[in-house]
């Protein structure tokens, strides 16, 4: 018996690619028994390469041909002894497989079934083929990101990981309700709506002022100075955000510009915003002689919000992530000790989350089919021969 929040919760994970596996990774690390059910014929793209070690940590992995009648029967038996089933196939696929909510709840009446798709499971465009990067454009999310007047930005990787966390959140909400009422749920999740929900300011600005908000680069509608400033080295920058007059005074002191500190034009944010190009030049004079972490250290010492603009490998090496234990060492099957990501929260005084290496397809067949579902070894072997279990 562990002290982790999702101890005793079993999840049948039919999801693939990024969003679904991200959700079940959170659950697995927090104590749920996550059983990833995979197909040998249509392998999950997230099971390739290093990313697999991120998306599928701490899970069990069994192989099953669920499009065969016996395979379908087995997955229903598995659902019957589970609490949650999660999938993110294109709309309609799960029904065609014979695993609609109706079928799942027949196997287990209080099952919580989470279904995520690009635009949701009903509506005129429910069948639209979607990738996360394209949904960022469709939902207006990218419309407020970019340089003013520039082309729309590609947008980086946002939709799938954002949805992944939200799927874990809605599952936890449904588990709470089931604990209270004994009732399960079918959850229809729209990735597009999750992204649109992430730009409330722009949506309200449009209604209040009849204007379509434009991207502002690193600038802010309210604060100034607000941007990134070149430091020593190629493509090295420090981000600085002055959010009040006190921080402005501190900034002037750090960059040794007492003249700016007493200039009445810069007394308040409105004035500083009006003259921000001039102020940006003055700040760059100072930052361009410093290494980005050193500039950050000096700014933070006097209370100016700031930090280096890092690429992912420099993030990976940040002392903060290492000293707080966000990065964990895990022995992987290639015999190496790998430094892999953890969770963004700590339950103080609680048990440590579970981090084990990502499994390979079929690794937990014996546990799932024999121990959990009670099949004999003989029966399992027959199913393997008939390619129902891979």
């Amino acid at each position: 018996m562990s002290d982790l929040p999702l101890d005793g919760v079993r999840v049948v994970d039919l999801s693939w690619i990024i969003a679904g596996p991200t959700a079940t990774r959170f659950m697995a690390a927090m104590g749920a028994e996550v059983i990833k059910v995979g197909s040998g014929r249509r392998p999950d793209p997230s099971t390739r390469g290093p990313a697999f070690q991120a998306y599928n940590q701490s899970k069990l992995y069994c192989a099953l041909n669920i499009s065969s009648p016996e395979g379908l029967e087995l997955v229903k038996q598995l659902i019957a002894v589970s609490d949650v089933v999660i999938e993110n196939f294109a709309v309609g696929v799960i029904d065609r497989l014979g695993l609609s909510y109706e079928a799942a709840s027949a196997a287990r009446p209080d099952i919580i079934m989470v279904s995520s798709s690009g635009t949701g499971h009903f509506g005129p465009h429910k069948d639209y083929v979607a990738y996360g990067s394209l949904l960022q454009h469709y939902t207006g999310w990218n419309s407020i990101s970019g340089n003013p007047g520039g082309e729309p930005v590609p947008g980086g990787l946002w939709a799938d990981p954002w949805v992944g966390m939200e799927l874990a959140m809605v599952t936890a909400a449904a588990l709470n309700n089931r604990a209270l009422t004994g009732q399960g749920q079918y959850i229809d999740f729209s990735m597009a709506e999750a992204l649109t929900a992430g730009i409330p300011g722009a949506i309200l600005d449009y209604q209040m002022n009849h204007r379509v908000p434009e991207p502002m680069g690193n600038r802010d509608a309210r604060y100034a100075p607000h941007g990134v400033y070149h430091c020593v080295g190629a493509d090295r920058w420090v981000a600085i955000a002055v959010t009040n007059d006190e921080e402005w005074q501190s900034l002037c002191a750090v960059i040794q510009r007492p003249d700016l500190a007493v200039d009445p034009r810069f007394d308040n944010a409105d004035g500083r915003r009006k003259h921000q190009e001039k102020l940006d030049a003055a700040i760059t004079q100072w930052t361009s002689l410093l290494e980005d972490h050193e500039a950050t250290r000096r700014l933070q010492e006097t209370g100016v919000p700031s930090g280096p603009s890092l690429d992912i490998c420099r993030v990976f090496n940040e002392s903060q992530l290492r000293e707080v234990g966000y990065i964990n060492q895990i022995q992987t099957r290639d015999g190496e000790l790998r430094e892999l990501p953890g969770l963004p929260w700590r339950f103080e005084g609680g048990e440590e989350p579970i981090f084990t290496e990502a499994p390979i397809l079929g690794q937990h067949n014996e546990y799932v089919y024999q121990e959990l579902l009670g099949l004999s070894e003989h029966e399992t072997n027959r199913l393997v021969e008939e390619q129902i279990i891979y």
């Binding site: 394209l134 874990a168 709470n176 749920q185 990735m191 209604q207 802010d220």
Partner: protein
Amino acid sequence: MVAGLLPGVRILDVGQGISAPYCAKILAQMGAEVIKVEPLEGDEARRMGPFPSDSPHPEKSGLFLAMNANKYGVSLDLASPDGAEAFKGLAAGADIVVENPPPGSLEAHGLGYETLKTINPGLIFTSVTPFGNRGPYKYFKATDLVLYHMSGHAHGLLGAVENPDSNPPIRAGGHQAELVGGMAAATATLMALYRKRITGKGCRIDISSFEAMVNQLISGLANCAYGRPAPPRDARKVEEAAAAGMVSAIGGILPCNDGYVAISPREDVQWERWLGVMDNPAWATEERYSTRDARQKNSPALWKLLSEWSSNYSKHEIARWGQEQRIPCFPVNTVLDLFNDDQLAHREFFVEIEHPAAGALKYPGAAYKFSNTGLPLAARPAPLLGEHNESILEKLE
């Protein structure tokens, strides 16, 4: 009255700005009773805007209204003995307290977790701060801009550029780092609440918005763990990387006569169908565009040809033609388009709430629908400052 998923759960939202209030907003729309506790001068989000006609007004800030709909509101001076007493009274009857102060400031008023748990041992106490209550950056000050840049996201947002030293990394609009911190807080808090239902145990949860942002890029971190380099920002290096087979997805935006369309016909079958949408142009049979690898290598020239075609049509036309052929393809929308979108309208995504000062406005609703339980998404507007002082605080006596 719609009950939601969390009937009887009471939450105190002591947060300001976005991160902690967003966590409490999510819990409110799941059906918890959320009491927002503001200082006498009000939550700083009341000063953030957007405002009607750009005129600041504490009851008309768009971000405040969006983050605090469906909550009750009281105002308290936590530094005064009476205020602190009232807060303790509220905390005694709460399941969850959510805060996002600089490290230790609620503790400075004698109202930290250690104090509150003596009054309410089962309390769940969630703190959201830029770097958490831990590590060398514990006392660093950070904003959305700083967190977006420090966590590696800014380097990916813009894609490759011709000269990285004159075209710096930029942040995404809309306070994404704050929102992710709030979403992480809601996720962890709901997991803790589930444990509390089973075991009766409360706990303190420490959320780092920095780690929540970094955690959005776990595939990139895993690549680093296997010694792979970061994707380059320099366009010349991207071409080398493409030649070495490192970039795998064909996709991007095309200019239209009214904006842009985003397409990604990356699989061979999708590409075949895409050519059909374009009426099978003659250049498509050329060797340099005939395979996925070839298209990848020659993508700048290819994109030019695609753009010449797309500029003749509207973004909605092209998106419709593409989707009819099952090609991943969407219009590049602005917020204006969202209000005209059939799918969002059909799913009743936006919820209208009437506010006594700001009037009727449409807010983004929830991205999820629960088959067996309705959600109270429009139960009440964001509270006026101190609106429920009388009804809530006087009940404590």
